[in-house]
């Protein structure tokens, strides 16, 4: 083999194992999964499997469960990400200045991130359980709950349970990311701004935020997509209930597929979710591009 050819092939050889694996285990199954969206596919039903075109999508329009889940997805994602981001940013700013014991504090506040998702779901479910958890009693004491009940069994409040777990679990992700970005801002920029008479707040608004903006845009985008897909907490804590009040699209897909065994319809809902997320991601990228162009 000639050296020129070998050199041209080299990068592909390095990337090949990952690519083959991802193609075989993720992309091909994704295409197969999407194709189910156009088939009547019910597990254990030998009569199913016919091509049904857009029937599932038409069905979706009249499916209250779908619309509830879509609404919940927006609330779940927006509230979770906003709180994770807000607290994550504050935490990152607190950790960005040196103080004795910073390494230990950093390790401790980032610890929830290492907790497996299902376990943080279980833990928070237990915290909300009035028998062994303190939260209902505290909320009652604060006057937020009329009686110390489990909010997870109240259709109007239940979604806040998984959101609380999600915020607790997701703050470290933002804090780690933003802290790393903060630490990459050269200190002399701050010194220059301070020399120019900018106080801490102004420095934050005029220096920190603009420099963090690209990182923020990408991280928030990736995280939003990820949180929207993240069904585990809901499945573990409420199973979508009570009475489907806490279903988000991804947990709804899970329920459709593995409790009703309706893979065709589940895949159609998943396809809609995928399209929504891709559109959202594309919009963010376009926006970010426009913003960096202008700057």
């Amino acid at each position: 083999m000639s050296r020129a050819l070998a050199l041209r092939l080299e990068p592909y050889l390095y990337a090949a194992p990952s690519l083959l694996l991802i193609a075989a285990i993720m992309l091909v199954p994704l295409v197969t999964g999407l194709s189910y969206a156009f088939h009547d596919l019910i597990l254990l039903d030998p009569l199913s499997g016919d091509f049904v075109g857009l029937d599932h999508f038409r069905e979706m329009l009249d499916d209250d469960g779908f619309w509830t889940a879509l609404r919940n997805t927006v609330v779940w994602t927006a509230v979770s990400v906003a709180l994770q981001f807000g607290f994550g940013l504050i935490l990152a700013l607190l950790l960005d200045r040196p103080f004795p014991g910073r390494g230990l504090v950093q390790a401790l506040v980032f610890l929830p991130w290492a907790v497996p998702g299902f376990l943080s779901g279980l833990t928070w479910a237990w915290l909300f359980n009035p028998v062994i958890g303190p939260l209902p009693h505290w909320l009652h004491g604060l006057g937020l709950l009329a009686t110390p009940e489990n909010i997870l069994s109240d259709p109007h409040l239940a979604l806040w349970g998984p959101i609380a777990a999600n915020v607790w679990w997701g703050i470290p992700f933002f804090a780690i990311t933003l802290l790393a970005a903060l630490q990459s801002i050269p200190k002399d920029i701050y010194e220059a701004a301070a020399m120019d008479g900018a106080g801490p707040l102004l420095r934050f608004r005029r220096v920190t935020l603009p420099l963090l903006a690209p990182t923020i845009a990408i991280t928030v985008m990736l995280r939003t997509v990820w949180v929207a897909n993240f069904a585990e907490l809901i499945v573990v804590m409420t199973k979508g209930g009570p009475a489907d009040a806490t279903q988000i699209l991804s947990s709804y897909i899970f329920t459709l597929a593995f409790q009703r065994l309706d893979f065709g319809y589940a895949s159609a809902v998943a396809a809609v979710l995928l399209v929504l997320l891709l559109a959202y991601a594309a919009a963010v990228m376009v926006l970010r591009h426009a913003m960096t162009e202008r700057a």
Binding site: A24, I25, W124, P214, I253
Partner: protein, 280 residues
């Protein structure tokens, strides 16, 4: 002068208080998990919401370790997570190296595909993967989980490794290549030893992710002999949903390896994560 000093002390105090609040919030649920796991059954309901029980016991741990299948689940999870960590880190290092060091046709596409692979609801591929792995004998098997988890974790791990490679000057491997090494030898003898913290962070990250995965473990492996800890714990919870002490003892046990891993590597994640996430 005095006013400034008061000002500074006030700011420090505020800073410390705010951090203390974050630490408390981060640790409280874990503390509670530990507390309930140590509370004797007879005090469970009477002292359910006290901050610390009047008596503690290791009974729950004893019964979890002796009379349940958790040791088996633990072992399964350890095997799957360690194998996934090694394989995904190896594959991701190669890909991350290619992203960091080469310009090649289709690179943007390859990276785009890897990004998109992180964005879709994984639920949609459970059934296709089951159909793919079943004829190969990879369902109800630990190897099947390793294959699936490796694929899931490789993209992010590749971006993470890429950012660690970016931090190492190209000059070093060029020097090695001038010194008589092939690119691969240069990678093995010069670059990888310098990326050890990055490799550890990536491996730890993947280990944690594999250790935590529930959905596919539940769906691909139905036999208890090949259940991982998350699936086992969830099964336990739905079967014995009132035995809080044992459930939480099992939870604490599930937390130990990842918690320890995390405390070791979190420092390096701060270095690698942004770049990984941002470039991704």
């Amino acid at each position: 002068m005095n006013k400034t000093a008061t000002h500074i002390i006030g700011a420090r105090l505020l800073h410390a208080l705010a951090l203390a609040a974050f630490v408390a919030f981060a640790l409280f649920p874990l503390f509670w998990l530990l507390k309930v796991s140590l509370t004797p059954d007879d005090l469970m309901y009477g002292e359910g919401v006290r901050l610390w029980p009047s008596r503690v016991t290791l009974d729950h741990y004893g019964s979890v370790l002796r009379h349940s299948q958790f040791p088996l689940f633990f072992r399964n999870s350890l095997i799957v997570s360690a194998a996934t960590g090694l394989l995904a880190t190896a594959a991701a290092s190669a890909a991350g190296y290619a992203f960091s060091r080469f310009r090649f046709r289709g690179k943007a596409w390859v990276m785009g595909v890897m990004l998109v692979s992180q964005m879709f609801p994984l639920v949609i591929i459970v059934a296709p993967i089951f159909r793919l792995l079943s004829p190969l004998g990879l369902t109800n098997s630990l190897s099947g989980l390793v294959v699936v988890y490796t694929a899931f974790n490789t993209p992010f791990a590749a971006f993470l490794m890429q950012s660690f490679f970016e931090a190492i000057p190209k000059d070093l491997e060029e020097a090695a290549m001038m010194d008589g090494a092939t690119r691969f030898q240069a990678l093995r003898r010069v670059i990888l030893p310098l990326t050890l913290p990055g490799l550890a962070a990536t491996g730890g990250f993947v280990f944690t992710a594999a250790w935590s995965e529930l959905l596919f473990s539940l769906m691909l492996n139905s036999s208890a002999a090949v259940s991982t800890f998350p699936a086992g714990l969830l099964g336990f919870v739905s079967k014995f949903s009132v035995d809080f002490g044992q459930m939480m003892a099992a939870g604490v046990l599930a937390l130990l390896p990842v918690g320890a891993f995390f405390l070791l590597i979190q420092r390096y994640l701060v270095q690698g994560l942004t770049a990984g996430a941002v470039k991704g």
